[in-house]
Amino acid sequence: AACGQDASNGNDNDDASSDNDITIGLSVADLTLERWQHDRDIFVDKAEELGAEVLVQSADGEDEKQLSQIQNMLSQGIDVLVIIANNSDALSPVVNQAKEENIPVVAYDRLINNAEIDAYVSFDNERVGEMQAEYLVEQVPAGKYFLLGGAPTDNNAQMFRDGQMNILAPLIENGDIEVVGDQWVEGWSAETAMSIVENALTANENDIDVIVATNDSTAGGAVQALAAQNLAGEVAISGQDADLAAVQRIAEGKQSMTVYKPIQDIAAKNAEVAVQLANGEDTEAEDTVNNGTVDVPFIKLEPIKVSQDNLVDTVIADGFHSFEDVYENVPEDERPEKPE
């Protein structure tokens, strides 16, 4: 009779917190990357504002760790699960488990495949790659391109590359663009990126017009290598995440652009959706996306290209970074007018 008596209590999962409070489990892929820290902070603020409590765990970029942590959160009796997946394909068992226990699951930023999820709130990763390439092609429609991929072991890095190639492939084919090198950066490490770009510049005798860097930390390393050749600002270079150091470089003209994924929006939206689902309400979404198992309601947010022209209207206007921080290294007289 005693057998299995704990197994069936997935429904009454309000034992972790007091009565009517909602407990959200937020599983973050990797808090060692700057952007996820912002995501977490904003998400938690917003959720608390909506009256929910948040349990946060970070998987340090390890798939299995994330799976374990989600298991642990489930056994703590959460009401809704929000997952920033480290790997879109590697979480289906635990998500299905959540489903069996009637806990709604939200995929935050990255889709979760082959499992039943209730909502997907994200920017489109491929779109990010496209934006990077679009901007660079606008600046340098023809010339020598160096492709600096992300971590070869990060699934997203593949998707960014797919997006970049959507734009670049035709131009490569017709000969406008010559790819002078294609290297990926272990662990998104700035140091490795720096060495790679140093070597690429040497091998090409500095004859590189564009570096398609996939995120801001690798762009940072690349810019350092360019700076040593006095090429910072001469070579167009992309990025992603709008890290403070990156927008500062953009302000100084050393980096051409970054893709800002308005974290305020995505974090707040996710918190809202999570609370809605926990309360058993419906969420409205215009799109759906098929993840191999179901059509998931997709709340799509537009990423934003950020360059020197729109710094003030984007990251600063959003309060993502302060005006002073962004222009810290730019002489007063060269700064744009400070918005109030």
Partner: protein
């Protein structure tokens, strides 16, 4: 010829295999469990969490079993994480892309592991390249191959049959049955052993001590089975650990190969002078380690229901740490598999407990590092020092 030892009383203290050191380890484990139990208001000790915990320790435990042999033989293997990743990837590719059956896929993964282990073992044993370098190279090579053959993509999902390897539980009744069989076997083998020793005129321990210990084990086994059955039943991965743990305890205690490994690690020159084939035995150790990495790879892929290119990264360090916590000496010659499994359990408990407490990630790192050091320190200071003072 001269006087013999039979004059001595037969009540001599026969150091039981499960010696003081293992006790210290178990005490350390109990303390960790207790502390987390209190700090999580009992959540940590819930039947559900125990079930999770065992599933979470599986991969590291399987790797630590093989790593014990490698370290005892006086070597090290830094490639096991990569190798588990690669074999898991091979499994997923064969099933998802080529539609192979689960049984064949599992065999292929394990064979691939054994083969790559053979390759590494050959460099270590027959080319005398330090294992540190061979397996550091292996770590890079295997990860490179994995990225190459998978094009950097995550390969998923696998068949139902594959998924259940790590994601299923024994039916309650089967669980109890197994536990009972285990207990009966324990008692039977203890009885038979005593009987035989008596026949051979060897010293026998006081029955109260032997059967007392056995009764404690019995209670532990039944309690655990009960707890796990209160949730979904005994998790299959735990069974896998028990199976391989048992198999390798048998290999290391009951076969000449096992004893040779300890001899080689304890004093290679003496082993060679005793006519032991150092090279062949060393090679075998790496083959076994490779095969176990294959097993770990299968479990990992099944658990995630996917194979990703980064799977298994850094597991080598966790596996080695589990061995060292379990009392295996990095100098070779000394180590035991039960300890390594307990070590893996300690590591998993630390991760699990802190994540149950929802501590900030950076604090988790710091606390885990501290617990690691302190746990090993407690273990060490419980042993008597043997070197001269300085």
């Amino acid at each position: 010829m001269t006087q013999s030892s039979t004059e001595k009383p037969a009540e001599k203290k026969l150091s039981f295999k499960f010696n003081a050191q293992s006790y210290a380890l178990i005490i350390a484990l109990m303390m960790i469990v207790l502390i987390f139990g209190i700090l999580t208001g009992g959540e940590f000790l819930s039947s559900r969490n125990l079930s999770n915990l065992f599933a979470q320790m599986t991969v590291i435990a399987v790797l630590a079993i093989g790593m014990t042999l490698v370290i005892v033989a006086g070597h090290i293997d830094l490639s096991v994480g990569s190798l588990a990743g690669l074999t898991g990837g091979i499994a997923a590719i064969l099933q998802v892309w080529f539609g192979w059956d689960t049984v064949w896929v599992v065999l292929a993964a394990i064979s691939a592991g054994a083969l790559l282990g053979l390759w590494q073992g050959w460099w270590v044993a027959y080319r005398a390249v330090p294992a540190f370098i061979v397996t550091l190279g292996g770590m890079l090579i295997f990860r490179g191959i994995l990225i190459g053959i998978s094009n950097g993509q995550t390969v998923a999902p696998l068949n139902e049959g594959f998924k259940i390897i790590s994601n299923s539980y024994l039916p309650y009744s089967v669980g109890y049955l197994l536990a009972l069989v285990g207990v009966v076997l324990l008692f039977f083998s203890a009885w038979r052993n005593q009987h035989k020793r008596q026949q051979l005129g060897l010293i026998i321990e006081k029955p109260i001590k032997i059967y007392g210990t056995l009764i404690v084990y019995t209670i532990l086994i039944l309690l655990l089975t009960y707890m796990l059955n209160r949730y979904n039943g005994i998790p299959v991965p735990l069974l896998i650990v028990i199976f391989f743990g048992g198999l390798f305890i048998f290999i290391s205690n009951k076969t000449s190969f096992g004893r040779y490994i300890y001899a080689i690690g304890g004093n290679e020159e003496a082993a060679a002078l005793s006519g032991i084939n150092i090279k062949r035995n060393t090679l075998s150790v790496f083959v076994l380690m490779g095969a176990l990495a294959g097993v770990a790879g299968v479990i990992l892929t099944s658990r995630l229901n996917a194979a990703s290119v980064s799977a298994g990264e850094m597991y080598e360090l966790d596996a080695i740490a589990a061995c060292v916590i379990g009392g295996t000496s990095l100098m070779g010659g000394r180590g035991n598999i039960v300890g390594a499994i307990i070590g893996a359990l300690i590591m998993a408990s630390i991760d699990n407990g802190m994540s149950m407490m929802n501590i900030e990630t950076f604090w988790q790192s710091i606390v885990k590092g501290l617990i690691l050091i302190v746990a090993v320190w407690i273990d060490i200071s419980s042993k008597k020092q043997s070197s001269v003072s300085s």
